[in-house]
Point group: C2
Chain length 476, copies 2
Amino acid sequence: MDRQDLFSYIDSRKDDVIADLQSLIRQRSVSAKKQGLEQCAAVVAGIMIKAGINTRILNLPKDGKPDGQSSMAPPIVYGEVKMKRKTGRTPRTLLFYNHYDVQPEDPIELWEHDPYEGIVEGDYIYGRGSSDDKGELITRIKAVEYYLKFFGDVPCNIKFLVEGEEEIGSIHVGEYLAKYHDDFACDGVIWEFGYVNEQNIPIITLGMKGLLFVELTATGPTRDAHSSLAVLIENPAWKLVRALNKLTDTSGRILINDWYKEVRDLTESEKAYLNTESFDEIRFKTEYGIHSFLNNVQGVEIQKALVTMPTCNIAGMISGYTGEGAKTIIPSTASVKIDFRLVPEMDPLVQFERLKKYLFDNGFDERSLKVRLLHGEAASRTNVDDPFVDVVSESAREVYGDAKISVSSPATGPMDSFSKNLNVPCISIGSTFIYSKMHSPNEFARTDLLLKTTKCMCGIMDRFASQNSMTENQPE
Amino acid sequence: MDRQDLFSYIDSRKDDVIADLQSLIRQRSVSAKKQGLEQCAAVVAGIMIKAGINTRILNLPKDGKPDGQSSMAPPIVYGEVKMKRKTGRTPRTLLFYNHYDVQPEDPIELWEHDPYEGIVEGDYIYGRGSSDDKGELITRIKAVEYYLKFFGDVPCNIKFLVEGEEEIGSIHVGEYLAKYHDDFACDGVIWEFGYVNEQNIPIITLGMKGLLFVELTATGPTRDAHSSLAVLIENPAWKLVRALNKLTDTSGRILINDWYKEVRDLTESEKAYLNTESFDEIRFKTEYGIHSFLNNVQGVEIQKALVTMPTCNIAGMISGYTGEGAKTIIPSTASVKIDFRLVPEMDPLVQFERLKKYLFDNGFDERSLKVRLLHGEAASRTNVDDPFVDVVSESAREVYGDAKISVSSPATGPMDSFSKNLNVPCISIGSTFIYSKMHSPNEFARTDLLLKTTKCMCGIMDRFASQNSMTENQPE
């Protein structure tokens, strides 16, 4: 029996993969609203135990605040499978990092199905988290389950770290990694996501942008006032507009002093990979109903922007009356949520201080414009020359026929916490079709890609078992 | 029996005044949401009939749209009492203009009592509409009721026009006035509101500002997109911020071309009245929790701003995710509600065209920034030298001990429709304490002022009956 027989077996288990993913989708787990997180951790643990994985629920100690319960970090689901076969050398350990939390489902009225039902239509499974990240998580768990069932052992040690706060910035993952450092010790990490492009080619991603998420709140009168008084009372919505207008220019360039100070150029190897990536501009524009790109970028400039461009994005904004018809008031507050994407060497806390200083230097004061840090994560990139890259790349080619390498995702994850705490390479590879509406209404997963990725994970385990790590190659 | 005896009788009827006001408050009637309007018109009609007023419900014909029901104008309650006594000359006719609709109650969580219960605490009656305008309406109805009960007749003909769309710009009142022109023929109008200042002195108001209410909606991707794509996809919230920032400078001056083109200076008589008004700056600032006024205006400059300054006010703004915590998206739309207050000679439709032209001249295009007119009303001012001013002023002094004249309210009402259609002076006098939180949570009315205003209305009827109108004094 070889890997091809295992792959055939996996194809025969399609209904089992779908059923486990559905039970995960059906447990709502919105970290932004602290909904169903402990319950979802339990569902994950159950599926892992069923798969033959030794599973534990990890917690951090309560932080001692009076409302201890609500300020507790959601649990992490830890899983482990030790290789039984003895080879005479210390087996290598592969860690799967995933998350069981999802983005809020709003705007709920735009969903065509219940976002927490997991309805299957043809090759599509609909639901919040179906791709991001419950679908990806299922491919990792099922790969280990089927490998174990088929061969009676795994080719290397396997670990799982499944957290519940990825969508709100993995607030506690660093603390978990520090506290349970020995449990999570490993030689390589398969990251929680992985995109598949329009030509069904997976994008192997070696890095993540960082994120600084802030909320600005302008305050005006202590209560909404009749708008005829706008000749006397300053409107906080206007204050917010002035503040926002100072942050960027129309090209998206951030005007905050020293914002780009630490940004480094791409290395020559990184640049080389940039040119190999494909991007279907027409499909992308059709998908989002847009007619042009910001700054009219095209060709390799698109890849460059995705990998290297820091952003300042308005994720949400609210003030005053937003119902039907007219209400003539001066709102008492106006607030905005902003996410800044960061590139390597930008420290979220330093950037936050720069933002505050810039606003206050420009005439806004802390009394009437509150600037709140919601969270920050640094960017991270795995070395493009690490041999782990070939392990993943060959395994992907075996299943998908081809694979692309991306120096960095434009998105954010706690890769920096992993690379700093565990000192190992982290690589993204997965099953998420690039237009599967992650974070949007009608998110879906494709079963063909779920099965392919499950197979790919098996190939990675095999190849990883026999790979020499970069560290092992270096003199002690 | 003279007017002082009538006033004592009115004082004895306090509980009756409160009870009728409560039954009005309890019928929710939010015009912005088309809630309970026909029901409230019926409640008003019932109270008027009980008062001895001949009452009819007027309607406009359906506009023939398929959803005829929903696009129908809310009814107007019409009331009439003819003087029985014969004097040998045509009796004069006084029209009371009021409205039964109210502002939305949001934000509901800031109300200390149910906004539709009419809870009484000491001298205060709480509820949406308790002051604006159900409290004022009750003073007019009860004045006629008590005058009739006490003297068996009224001193002049009385008419009522109670509409249901004042809070959304009196969209159909002009049409009603045109259609029922003969029914509403009169010699003077007592307007729907009237403020009482911190020293319990009523402000007699001779004009209203106009209003242009618009909604701007910027559109971006066809659905919310993952914010990592902000390097490529233009964010509609940024577009909206750019557009808003172009509309005004930080002093509140409107930057739209020709915005102030038709604005005329105050006349000398108007200027003279400006200097007689009082304004308690410290109390006002305390009430709204603000530390300074826009442009640091003080003294007579405050009155001047309230009467003469056009405004551009953000009444509401929304885009993207506004729930708890973080969600990292590019919103698909961003919209803002803006109310512009206008002064005499500014035509709302002309100003609307100027707004659109300005935005499109500044690089915004109709495809990605929609500009929608919600409604427009022109400003209006009654001549400060009209003898009707003395009628109202003397009646107010009799009850309140003093009275102030204001050339124009900073707020808006359909006075222009009345003065144009009926060609008569319109004057505001009423019971609304200036800090009674109209349009805000915890709106209240003061029973002492309700009773005083009821008496004042009786005095106005008496004096109006014997007044010679400006038109009568002029040669035919």
